[in-house]
């Protein structure tokens, strides 16, 4: 993938999740203390379900780009070697394991979110 498209996807997903967060947290802040019935009707509206679904997918995009960048910056022979020279030899293995871990966890989180929202 082109670096510029990664750049724009990161920002686009950030803006969407920012808007989503402002919307949900302003509902909670305005309706203090939140009643059970208003919370249920808020989370049962189609707009909440759809925007949460979009937020979940944008979260996956944002997380993948962000954590991948962190991995390629720090899980390299150069930076791991500072901790211990032996680690430098296994940098590629460590980075693959790390990438697998966060992709698996990200997919699990999105699946759980969709399950909670739509069931």
């Amino acid at each position: 993938m082109k670096g510029s498209s990664l750049f724009y996807w990161l920002r686009l997903s950030a803006l969407f999740m920012l808007g989503y967060t402002v919307w949900v947290s302003s509902f909670i802040l305005i309706n203090q203390p939140v009643e059970y019935n208003s919370w249920i009707s808020f989370t049962n509206q189609t707009f909440f379900q759809l925007s949460t679904t979009f937020a979940a997918f944008f979260f996956l995009v944002h997380t993948f780009i962000g954590l991948w960048t962190v991995g390629t910056d720090y899980f390299t022979p150069r930076t791991l070697g500072f901790l211990h020279p032996t680690l430098a030899k296994y940098a590629d293995l460590i980075r693959s394991g790390y990438t697998f871990l966060f992709v698996a966890l990200g997919v699990l989180i999105v699946t759980t979110t969709l399950f909670i929202i739509w069931s």
Partner: protein
Amino acid sequence: MSTNHNKIRPVYRPVYINLMQIRLPVSALISITHRLSGIYNFFITLPISLYLLYFSTKSYNDFILIQDTLSQPNIISTFVTFSFLVYAYHILTGIRHLLQDVHIGESLSASSKSAYLVLIIWFSLSFLLMMRLYL
């Protein structure tokens, strides 16, 4: 800044970089903590919010249990508040980065001022939320 650009550069780059020996300006501190808070959000804040969403919409009793737990000062409510504060920190520093992407506050002095501004806003927010929880 010295005028050593005529000198021959060392042939060997440092093999391993000691991150602890680099002196970070405040804007770099904001940048690295933005990353760290992102990692925290992924592994801790997001699973917590999913847990809260699931149980707060499951039944009335679960909702009341969560509301009671989170409105009283205890280790769980402190931990949850802290996690959402880390999320707020990621958002605040993220907005700062987004503004710099569209060339607002890009200069060295503006960048360090906005870094302090973000820190002031976040510490005030933390103070308010913890006050609300404990007092």
